[in-house]
């Protein structure tokens, strides 16, 4: 009997849990005693002989004990190496999250907030520029509402077989750098026989189109609503090219016309026409249009100076001021927090003649476009939803202020707009799903897209 007990003990030695060991010992003991009785009875053997039979077929006690022990071991203790690697990975992951959080909160977020907020110098610079424009207005406040889109589209398409006409303008312009012409080059351009070959016979018809505040036109109102369902790129392309197709080529063509007038010894007529063209280009209300208009203002300035035309001339410096202001408004409306005291000072300048439209028409490229990167973040990320909402309220108020309510649909991001970033290549990349990476990405995109007003002063070389 001792041998059988020793065998059962050997099995149980492998069981680590004390209670389980005791209960298994009792269970096995009962089992073997029943078996022992049966063998003794069936085979007519004595106890020792029956024990011998049992032990012969009993198997390795250590192996059996180990199997019983394993069956009672929770799964996560059965594979210690897997568990260890899982625990280590979790610790590593949490450490990375905590470290990243620390770095982001200590370094990145303050930097981002400061980037998205205006500095004192920003306000003083833009106010100074706006005051300069107020003293010597470049563009008049207008009210007529006409649209040159259909007219110009037809002309560009039908004149000189379409593309050739536009190519000829661009080629001639490139040959003489027309819009950057200097005082000594005028005579050279006038001597070029190709100058008079470019068709400007229909130029005078342009005077029928003077579309300041053209946003109030019923057709464009409908189109603004239609395009507001599109993405930011669609909105900007639409606004930038709606009233004047081939904006830049149109300005070059207008410069060519004024030079033709100069050749015909009617420079005043040329100057008058060119100013009208600049007005049209500027009134597209886009930053692109306003910047092209600035190029036109510089050409006009030289044209008037060379021909000693007694007309009110916009200096090159003032033209650059207008350019800075155009970018400045965009920068302003991309601020996440706008100082209300500064706003009241800026309010009176929120008008098309101060270049304000660029702020609205270019706006969807900025904060609105990036809003999906800053909303619905992980709990530990930066949440700018509140600021973005406040900014939109400011935008709408600004539109009311300058009588551009009609542009409201361009501001409020619709359902498609909110998911634009997700639909785009960047938005679809797996990086966007990683906490913080999305916001870092947005910051860098913003860094590229958002103009920084103060740096305009450093980069803009006045010629």
């Amino acid at each position: 009997m001792k041998r059988l007990n020793n065998y059962i003990r050997a099995v149980c030695q492998k069981i680590k849990n004390k209670d389980l060991r005791k209960s298994t010992y009792r269970e096995l003991k009962t089992h073997y005693l029943m078996k022992l009785e049966k063998i003794m009875k069936d085979k007519k053997l004595n106890k020792n002989e029956a024990i011998e039979v049992i032990l012969k077929s009993a198997g390795n006690p250590k192996k059996i004990g180990a199997k019983i022990n394993l069956a009672n071991t929770p799964w996560f203790f059965r594979y210690p190496y897997i568990m260890l690697s899982l625990v280590s990975s979790s610790i590593l992951f949490i450490t990375v999250i905590l470290m990243t959080s620390y770095i982001m909160h200590q370094r990145f977020f303050p930097k981002l907030i400061s980037f998205l907020s205006s500095s004192e110098s920003f306000y003083s610079l833009i106010i100074k520029d706006l005051e300069a424009i107020e003293k010597a207005p470049i563009f008049k406040p207008h009210s007529r509402e006409r649209n040159a889109h259909i007219f110009l589209s037809k002309k560009f398409k039908n004149q000189g077989e379409g593309k050739n006409f536009l190519n000829d303008i661009n080629a001639f312009s490139a040959k003489h750098q027309i819009l950057k012409i200097d005082q000594n080059s005028f005579s050279k351009v006038l001597q070029d026989p190709d100058l008079m070959k470019i068709d400007t016979s229909w130029a005078q018809e342009i005077y029928s189109f003077d579309h300041w505040n053209y946003f109030e036109d019923e057709v464009i109102k409908r189109n603004i609503k239609r395009v507001s369902g599109g993405d930011s790129i669609e909105k900007i392309s639409f606004i930038a090219s709606y009233s004047i197709p081939e904006l830049f080529t149109f300005l070059k063509w207008s410069a060519i016309y004024s030079l033709q007038m100069l050749e015909k010894r009617r420079p005043e007529e040329g100057a008058k026409f060119f100013r009208h063209a600049v007005n049209l280009v500027n009134s597209t209300g886009s930053n692109i249009g306003q910047n092209i208009a600035v190029i036109g203002l510089k050409f006009e300035s030289k044209f008037l100076e060379v021909n000693q035309i007694d007309s009110k001339r916009t200096t090159v410096e003032l033209a650059d001021t207008y350019k800075r202001v155009s970018w400045g408004w965009i920068s302003l409306v991309n601020e996440i927090s706008i100082d209300s005291s500064k706003i009241s000072a800026l309010k009176k300048y929120m008008k098309p003649e101060f270049g304000f439209c660029s702020a609205i028409t270019e706006y969807p490229m900025g904060l609105s476009l990036m809003s999906s990167f800053f909303s619905n973040p992980w709990p530990f990320e930066l949440n700018l939803e509140k600021e973005i909402k406040e900014n939109l309220t400011f935008q709408e108020a600004a539109l009311e202020e300058c009588g551009l309510k009609v542009l409201k649909p361009l501001l409020r991001p619709d359902k498609r707009e909110a998911t634009w970033s997700k639909k785009s290549g960047i938005g679809n990349s797996s990086f966007v799903a990683v906490p913080y990476v999305r916001q870092l990405l947005a910051y860098h995109l913003f860094l590229t897209a958002k103009p920084r007003y103060t740096s305009l002063y450093d980069n803009l070389v006045v010629k």
Partner: protein, 109 residues
């Protein structure tokens, strides 16, 4: 003819669950019932039976309790649980499917 051990390996749990479906039993009784039912073709050794019972108990397919019948030894009895019944039903289904498929293949060959 004793059943091939390798074939039996994957079906042990089904076998034990099925036995406990009809009657709760202690380990020795269970081994005896299987041996009798299979006419000695399947003999469960202690080294196979007890790790299997403990494993099924850990998986909550069976539960155990101690009983002391009058004039007999105290013994640990195993009983099928609700989860065990569900598990058995699934295992039976897949076993029948397996047998049907094997039969198809073997008869076709």
């Amino acid at each position: 003819m004793p059943v091939n051990k390798e074939l039996l390996k994957g079906s042990m749990k089904t076998l034990v669950l099925k036995m406990l479906l009809s009657k709760s039993s202690h380990g020795y009784e269970l081994a005896q019932r299987i041996e009798q039912l299979t006419k000695g073709n399947i003999i469960l050794t202690e080294g196979t039976l007890y790790p299997l019972l403990h494993s099924l108990e850990a998986d909550k397919c069976i539960e155990s309790f101690w009983e002391k019948p009058a004039g007999k030894r105290k013994r640990k009895v195993y009983k099928l649980t609700k989860l065990g019944k569900e598990n058995l039903s699934e295992k039976t289904k897949s076993w029948n499917e397996f047998v049907k498929t094997m039969k198809l293949v073997l008869e076709a060959a």
